[in-house]
Symmetry: C2
Subunit: 202 residues, 2 copies
Amino acid sequence: MKRLQYASALTRLIGELARLPGIGSKTAQRLAFFLLSAPPEVAVNLAEAIREAREKVRRCSECGNLTDVEPCAVCASDMRNKNVICVVQDPRDVAAIEKYRGYKGVYHVLHGVLSPLAGVGPQELNIQSLLARLANGVVQEVILATNPDVEGDATALYLARLIKPLGIKVTRIAHGLPVGAHLEYADEVTLGKAIEGRREIE
Amino acid sequence: MKRLQYASALTRLIGELARLPGIGSKTAQRLAFFLLSAPPEVAVNLAEAIREAREKVRRCSECGNLTDVEPCAVCASDMRNKNVICVVQDPRDVAAIEKYRGYKGVYHVLHGVLSPLAGVGPQELNIQSLLARLANGVVQEVILATNPDVEGDATALYLARLIKPLGIKVTRIAHGLPVGAHLEYADEVTLGKAIEGRREIE
């Protein structure tokens, strides 16, 4: 007996949605049915937004951040301090630091971290253009703001060894307890870093 | 000082993704960056699948299930038993029952359940066309397979009162313990239904 399948266009939509990270087949089904039952403009706008983003958003030739103007708003701004470059692994990290509002320098986005097991070496990262930016003599400090995990730390160390010989100050973001955290719930590595990194109260 | 925002096309994509059910702003960001960094065809295919599904998938004029042929594959099949109609609240329920492979009848999709608080009355559901299908004298049994919750039960009761006077057999799917379940973890309402619905072992 012939068994009912979903309409083929629906099967295809479910399949495409299930390719997104963190979206399993059940969630993909739910999203597909939502897109079919919601007002038509919801689906149309989403399809259009995907197409538009894919078409317009590029990497800034200067810092590597995602942008739809060239160079990006930060690199183009004369309100930003070009003497300090904050190196991050991901465009989302730029957005996170911008929320803090206290950082006035510029950025450099690596688009990843060194990960020999995953086959990511220095060539796969946006490092050459970072070294090119440092060659102009304007930059006085590079803040390494990769994640405080094994790969992020290794990448920071690698970059520090490349950049220090150029006579540029290299700093690493501080490790320690998050604000609002409780000591008793902190893991011992974080606690160790927090104690090592202690500062005198003035 | 001017603050960096995401590129406007990216902001728009994140916003459209965040309108999907169960997708918060963090997940929307993650999906948007995935769509920008994945091979171009991933984004293109998804946008195209959304557009195509929205364009082609319609409700079957007979049973109300989602389909891209008219009538749908089940209604069009001469291998299905047109004497039995299984009434479900959602197209996903049709897919779930089809997986079981033991049901040979046809379906009717209500596209919802009665819910006075949400403003869903009989007019909002695909009930008129169900009554029209019953008028031809072919149907001998209507299986009410709405969910076993308050609204699903109320909807089943409402339909039973409409259909019984037509001289058609009306049945409700069984309540009881799921296969593989442990008695000690079952809630008392399910357990009560399982005991009420006990059947003699032959």
